[in-house]
Amino acid sequence: MFSLEGITTSVQDWLFMKFNPTMALAMECIIVILLSISLFALLGLVLVLMERKVAAHIQIRLGPNRVGPGGMFQTVADTLKLIMKEGLVPDMADKFLFNLAPFVVMMVGMLLLAPIAFAKNFQIWDINIGVLYISAVSSLSVIGILMAGWASNNKYSLLGAMRSGAQIVSYELSAGFAVLTIVVLTGSLQLSEIVKAQENGWWIFKGHIPALIAFVLYIIAVTAETNRAPFDLAEAESELTAGFHTEYSGMRFALFFLAEYINIFIVCAIGATLFFGGWMPLHIGHWEAFNHIMDYIPSSVWFMGKTFFLIFLIMWFRWTFPRLRVDQLLNLEWKYLLPISLFNLLLVAVIAILGWHF
């Protein structure tokens, strides 16, 4: 049976056999860096194409179908174009911050990759405060956006960045509370522990209605956090032309664009881990035979399947709903999502204490 765990173990064994431990660790670091960068590039290409195809099919169109079979290489062609394009820096812009901003946004994506469990025992860093780490790091991306908006010396960019700041700071809360419900149920902040706790069923099934509510809250909050429609106020096309990245072009723009999709992947991966059991196959109570069959599907396939399902859900939102207004956006958070998530957390705490979950 195909397993990523086997590959990593054999690579590690070989490295420790050939080199001294420090050297082997350094080599492993380099391998991890290369792998994560290539994963980034690959995900960017795949997700942009997926978005365009999903959008096209929802909008009764065909979508890209000229470059390569079924338009598979469309995003590669787009990337080549963006690399070759001149990256303009506007006059009077703060050049240092302007150039730094896309990298800050990218860096956040990279950092968030660390604690995610891609498959069984296939994780870069199984940190024991994984969930906390994710909450803390993911809110850093707003700094990059604010930087971009401020440094561009453009009024549209500034407005977009300010909107984004207000938005991410508020929606962090309900995303955090939604994550906390699962932490309360599991009793651990470690992502591998959370996955293990779902061995006999995913939290979305085991956690009764509160887990379902938490999932809905989580999806809404992370859609807002990643600046996706219907919460794409930071780049509201019809209002602010392109919001915080109005002045960006060429590869700097591509980094923002890539970061958006990487962020979607990461929040969906975390959502899949928390609510759908990460790499854990679908197990139903005592159906031993069924569980056994499900185990035959590799854990990485389970993980990717769940993540891409959530990504599809977020894309589905984008191509269905109109955009909210900025005050309605904050109303939604403070008047609806936050009270509901607080109440939901209380409910979950009661359930967890009384042991009502499966």
Partner: protein
């Protein structure tokens, strides 16, 4: 070339008290053309909007003065290109009125059917574009699918999809296409089955409702004093449908309701247009099977000469009252011509209804005013 220190000194662009002046347009995704809005902001709140016009001014009125009464009609298609057919009709009506040409019944019926089809096509485009202004991209494609059927009908019968020039003084340029009735009926069936889609996607959507309800309120008094017509005024409770007040062609023979809402906000303007599409379908249904046989054009002289005097005719386009005013000296060309375009008056209320709102409200207000910039600039 200027150096950087000079730019810093030039603070005239910056408003007082932390006001932010941004130029929306002439190249902006939400202005649907080359409208230039100078928006004074205080944070997200709009303090003042100043529309700057003239980016697509082609001096159509002056051009028309050098064209004969047969020729000047085609130019009017280029003003409000979404209701070009109705514009043509307004001009043809003026010439017919001035020369007392009796138009055959068949031509009258066909003109009305085509006008209503044009109205539906225009409203469909507006619906898609407005949803797009509010951030929903998908309804645009669904609306265009139905609009495409109308443009196909136009292409079959009139020979063009947008600037038809099918109406000539005295009737029509040529007779209907044999498939016309069949295709129109197919369109009506398709339209009726798809109307619920807009309700699900747009009308009943909670986000759409909260974006438009209570936004950009225009009172009936203001609508009258700014000279608003069409769906914009009718959404404020002003009865101003030219088809009802001064019926032309066969509008006095068909049954339809003048859609009037009283709220005066963006949502009311939206509802008025959606209901108007249904009324247009109702008019077409009454006429499509009853097109009388006969000539499609009246016998007219080769050279048309309007008698000396002043003439005015008006029609109800998809955007409101379109008026043509001609001063004739008795020659083959108009001495002076003036078009009263609905878009210009409707645009003038923008500052009134959007100031005090947010940037997002401006998009909702502007979207529901249904501006066509070439109609405003002419």
């Amino acid at each position: 070339m200027y150096n950087q220190t000079e730019i810093i000194k030039d603070t005239s662009e910056l408003g007082a008290d932390g006001e932010l002046v941004i130029n929306m347009g002439p190249q902006h995704p939400a202005t649907h053309g080359v409208l230039h809005l100078v928006v004074t902001l205080n944070g997200e709140t709009i303090k003042k909007i100043e529309p700057h016009l003239g980016f697509i001014h082609r001096s159509i009125e002056k051009m028309c003065e050098s064209l004969t009464y047969r020729q000047f009609i085609y130019v009017t298609s280029r003003m409000d290109y979404l209701s070009s057919h109705i514009n043509n009709l307004g001009c043809a009506l003026l010439v017919e009125k001035g020369m007392q040409i009796e138009v055959p019944d068949r031509a009258k019926y066909i003109r009305v059917i085509l006008s209503e089809l044009t109205r539906i096509a225009s409203h469909e485009l507006w619906l898609g574009a407005m949803a797009m202004d509010l951030g929903a991209f998908t309804p645009f494609f669904y609306a265009f699918r139905e609009r495409e059927m109308i443009t196909d009908i136009m292409e079959d019968t009139c020979g063009a999809r947008l600037t038809m020039n099918y109406i000539v003084p005295g009737g029509l340029m040529y007779d209907l296409h044999p498939d016309f009735q069949k295709k129109v009926k197919a369109f009506i069936t398709q339209f009726k089955s798809k109307v619920t889609e807009y309700e699900d996607l747009v009308t009943n959507n909670i986000i759409f409702q909260s974006r438009t309800k209570g936004v950009g309120i225009l009172s009936a008094e203001d609508a009258i004093s700014y000279g608003c017509t069409g769906p914009v005024a009718r959404a404020s409770g002003v009865s101003c449908d030219i088809r009802k007040i001064y019926p032309y062609e066969v509008y006095d023979k068909v049954e339809f309701e003048e859609v009037i809402e009283t709220a005066g906000d963006s949502f009311a303007r939206y509802i008025v247009r959606v209901k108007e599409m249904n009324q247009s379908i109702r008019i077409i249904e009454q006429l499509i099977d009853n097109i009388p046989e006969g000539d499609f054009v009246a016998k007219t002289k080769n050279v048309l000469k309007l008698p000396k005097g002043e003439f005015y005719s008006r029609v109800e386009t998809a955007r409101g009252e379109f008026g043509v005013y001609v001063v004739s000296e008795g020659g083959t060309t108009p001495h002076r011509i003036k078009f009263r375009s609905p878009g210009f008056s409707n645009l003038s209320v923008l500052n009134h209804i959007a100031a005090g709102g947010m940037i997002g409200d401006l998009m909702a207000s502007m979207g529901t005013l249904d501006l066509v910039i070439p109609d405003i600039d002419r």
